[in-house]
Subunit: 593 residues, 2 copies
């Protein structure tokens, strides 16, 4: 940043000094990273956001030396001194400023510091609860400073990319209307309209569609979204989306602009070239081949259908599944015989049961040491047919699941991921982006006996499937698409319904009475009366994107002030107590437990 | 934007076509602004975000003509046609596309429209409640489309300006800790920690200070802020700040960078050259001369102190005020005798009473027709001394208030603004930016008998005034500064306290027990133990800035989805009802009224 960060307290940044600056008198400010006394000479590593530089002072500068003796780690200093070359033996090639040091002429202690409860270094092992309580110290670590800068840079690239293409960033309300279905809303009691509540938005979905109806043409927002859910590792009660909507577009228009944006971010942040257009795969293909709607294509291990081979097998587990309209599918773990013990395979059997598979069959190709227990049930011709279809070679292990189609695909999809970990595939530095398209419009929940939207209720059905909406709704595909990278869903979008009648039909398919639909989404249905352009859009999870860009697998590590699993902020001790007066003002009471 | 907005449905924008495009076959999409049938030829004005263009079709294109006959206002069309020059008599110089029209070859109706309940034109006079209910139609008006684009552009300029200078945009939580004092918080009941509440932040103040303690050096955020207040014309329950914080800076550093940013925005959006450095004025000077801490300096009418002249006057209203440590102040409305009737002056007397002045004295210079009622009470020498000090000339009117210092200054300050309106000063196109500095640190509230912070409790006192903090707190000035333009506070900032002991002393001066201070702000006081850089910052009201840039005086006109005075969104009908299940989940009940 050079001179642009000059202030009253400094005219240079610690981490930017190098041999070109030798001879310059500089003013620096920062934190004491380390102080050492070597035979009457004091060395101080001074740290600011840009990095560290070594300061040196001896008794020839008595005033500065005396102060420097009092200095401890994390004191805040301001100094003036001359940049000098280090002697050869003191050169430190490990840091960018390792060629030089700064001889202190004047030193001011701007603030003192107690001994911090954590180590201000990237490899600090303090437990997370302590680190979150002292988040301001945790954030002093270079890795977090870099993460926050990367997050900022990512948002900046996205914003400028979109602005350059005619997108207008528009702020939508945080105090919105509660929506009873879907994920749980955070509610905000209204003081002015007692007994009523705002809902914090789970996404700006309806606002951005309304903006398309208002003719704003291209919208984006880096938007805060809220879901009052029980947290898993990769969720937070508030999270951030790069939220995009466009008018007068089809799917290809949306996909083209968004993959270009992601490619630009990957290039500028990670110097990775992402090939565009990205591969596209239908939901059906993804499920059939990878057992997942977010396939990790960095490795093969694809699912193969064996149903036709075993449909008349004497092995009832196989043939029975096929007869019940289920599926028998398999993956071939190439050369895995060497890497998996019998115990390891037992573990995989338990693993697929988590995903509701009734069992896991396996065959060791070339009939090695392991001896598959199912061989006695299937005929030699079946075995040979399976080997042929699976391209089986000596040393391979074939895993088979026979179950309903959904369970067979999903369990094998999960097994595929587990195998990639167990077999320690080398995947580093690979970024396999792709689009999954043509998702089902609806899902059926057996338990509640009701349909729900796979994406959201505003997603357009594919035109050729509209005919089934009332008669066979599960057959209807949506004009929806997800961007997936390495098995992670980075973003999802769709073409929206832009016709009131079709929107009403979809609400009906979802089980809404027209009264309920109008009660809840009346403003959208009303808006759809007055001329709506064909439109669609997409939202990327910014937190997930930054996790990808910074190689983090903990969402808390990519947010400045994350919450813990019980929705708490350990630093500020939130949530907190409300005063009785406040509750009376709001017209609410806390229930006794 | 040209080709960058090309999609499946268009390859040009309506408002960008001109004579250079003649002969081109273009595809356009947009809304029907108007349709006219002139002797078998149909003219359609098609509108998109970029503007309007005239389409024309006749019976030589029977398919398109037949469809075009069905078209009504606000239908959404997609057309293909050739750009042709208009005949000379049809050229419309009032619109950018007035030289040309597009001869339709193909036409598709993408969506129909009912007759809208408001007129989609800038001079629509529909009442605001109807306009807000149909906000998506209101936003189709060119002025709102332009406003949203200006708002976006303003934020973009600010973001890029700050990014270029090393500022890192960092998102701070919306689900924060409630703060019992200050303005009222919106509360969010926690489901996971029943009985506890989040507070929506009134500003990211504490988070940004924590980020400085974390070494992030330069922070900004275009941040949503929330206050549960009863609304005045210029307030909204949620509003937006350009929020800035910097480390290792003094006041001059903060002022320099922020005035440069505002000057850049004024130049790029309004092509106005703002002179920097901006004028600075202390709070004391602003109050003494303009009777306001946000002086409108587009006109003179300054306040003048007459206390010394009238301190021994026989006119007890004057001398009595001085004896009670009050003040006698005056403004000279040059040449106002011609413009103000006696009745007009009576009106001004009532006006100053709104601001608690006991009365308003006035003298017509040159003893014109109006004859001041106070002349009989003051001596000729006093009158002459007043005339001299006020540079009185024939035709002037001098207005005098005698009261406590605060009331005299404030009432005359308000009178000054009222006179500028009554005398119809020509102020258009003037932008008088200035800084007001050295605000009092504290205010004293007579009613509650307690002190409160003029800015906020984290503002640094001026070093030379620290000595009075315990003995004479009202004498202590703060290192705080507001940017003011034309009588409006555009932003305010300060240097913050970066020392735990001083922060504790200020909390004590504000009447906090140490227990209460730690209970509420413990995380800040704790953070101040571990090495805090000198830091400070500023926040601009983005809504107010956009009002200035778009010449709007209604804050609802510069937000996409504003709320009404009762905190309602008329479009989506928020706030809404919560389901009983949701309340049970949250462990709260709505009180019976």
């Amino acid at each position: 940043m050079g001179g642009k960060m000059n202030t009253f307290y400094r005219n240079a940044l610690c981490g930017e000094l190098n041999a070109n600056d030798v001879g310059k008198i500089v003013e620096l400010s920062g934190w004491v990273d380390n102080r050492r006394n070597l035979g009457g000479v004091l060395f101080i590593d001074l740290r600011d956001r840009s990095g560290k530089v070594q300061l040196v002072v001896n008794e020839k500068q008595p005033a500065a030396f005396e102060l420097a003796e009092k200095v401890r780690n994390e004191f805040v200093l301001s100094i003036k001194g001359e940049v000098v070359l280090r002697s050869d033996q003191n050169i430190n090639k490990n840091i960018p400023t390792g060629d030089i040091e700064v001889e202190i002429q004047e030193l001011t202690i701007l603030d003192t510091a107690e001994t911090p409860p954590i180590y201000i270094e990237d490899n600090d092992q303090t437990n997370e609860a302590v680190r979150l309580k002292y988040r301001y110290l945790d954030l002093r670590k270079p890795k977090f400073q870099k993460m926050l800068m990367t997050r900022h840079k990512t948002a900046s690239i996205a914003r400028n990319f979109l602005s350059d293409r005619g997108f207008c960033e528009i702020e939508t309300p945080i105090l919105a209307k509660p929506t009873p279905e879907g994920a749980r809303d955070f509610l905000v009691p209204s003081r002015v309209q007692k007994g009523k509540f705002f809902g914090l938005p789970q996404s700006p979905q309806l606002f951005k569609q309304i903006l398309m109806i208002s003719g704003m043409d291209r919208y984006y927002q880096i938007a805060k979204c809220f879901r009052d859910e029980d947290l898993r590792q990769d969720r937070q009660p508030e999270f951030t989306q790069i939220d995009i909507e466009m008018s007068f577009v089809d799917k290809d228009d949306i996909i083209a602009i968004n993959e270009e944006m992601i490619a630009k971010i990957m290039k500028e942040i990670k110097d990775v070239d992402v090939k565009t257009p990205m591969i596209r795969m239908t939901y059906q293909e993804a499920m059939d081949q990878y057992g997942s709607d977010k396939p990790d294509t960095r490795f093969e291990l694809k699912l193969t259908d064996l149903s036709d081979i075993v449909k008349d097998s004497e092995f009832n587990v196989f043939s029975g599944a096929v007869k019940k309209n289920g599926s028998v599918r398999a993956i071939n773990a190439k050369g895995a015989q060497d890497k998996l013990s019998k115990k390891g395979i037992k573990g995989l059997e338990s693993y697929v049961k988590i995903y509701k598979a009734k069992g896991l069959a396996w065959i060791d190709v070339s009939d090695g040491e392991m001896k598959s227990p199912i061989l006695k049930f299937i005929s030699e011709s079946e075995k040979q047919a399976i080997f042929k279809r699976m391209n089986a070679e000596p040393g391979d292990l074939i895993f088979i699941v026979a179950d309903t189609h959904e369970i067979a695909c999903n369990a094998l999809g999960q097994l595929r991921l587990e195998l990639s970990r167990k077999l320690e595939y080398k995947l580093e530095g690979m970024y396999n982006f792709l689009w999954v398209t043509d998702f089902p419009l609806l899902e059926y929940d057996l338990e509640s006996g009701s349909y729900s939207a796979k994406h959201h209720p505003f997603t357009a059905p594919l035109e050729e499937d509209m005919q089934y909406l009332e008669t066979n709704p599960l057959k209807v595909r949506a004009d929806a698409f997800d961007m997936v990278v390495n098995g992670v869903e980075l973003g999802g979008g769709s073409i929206r319904i832009h016709n009131q009648k079709i929107q009403e039909r979809v609400f009906a398919a979802l089980g809404f009475t027209m009264e309920a639909a109008w009660d809840q989404f009346g403003f959208l249905l009303e808006a759809l009366k007055y001329g709506t352009p064909p439109h669609g859009g997409l939202a990327f999870g910014l937190d997930r994107l930054v996790m990808l860009l910074t190689d983090n697998d903990n969402i808390r590590d990519v947010m400045a002030f994350p919450k813990t699993q019980n929705h708490g902020c350990l630093m500020m001790d939130a949530p907190g107590n409300a005063e009785l007066d406040q509750l009376i003002d709001l017209g609410i009471s806390v229930d006794e437990i």
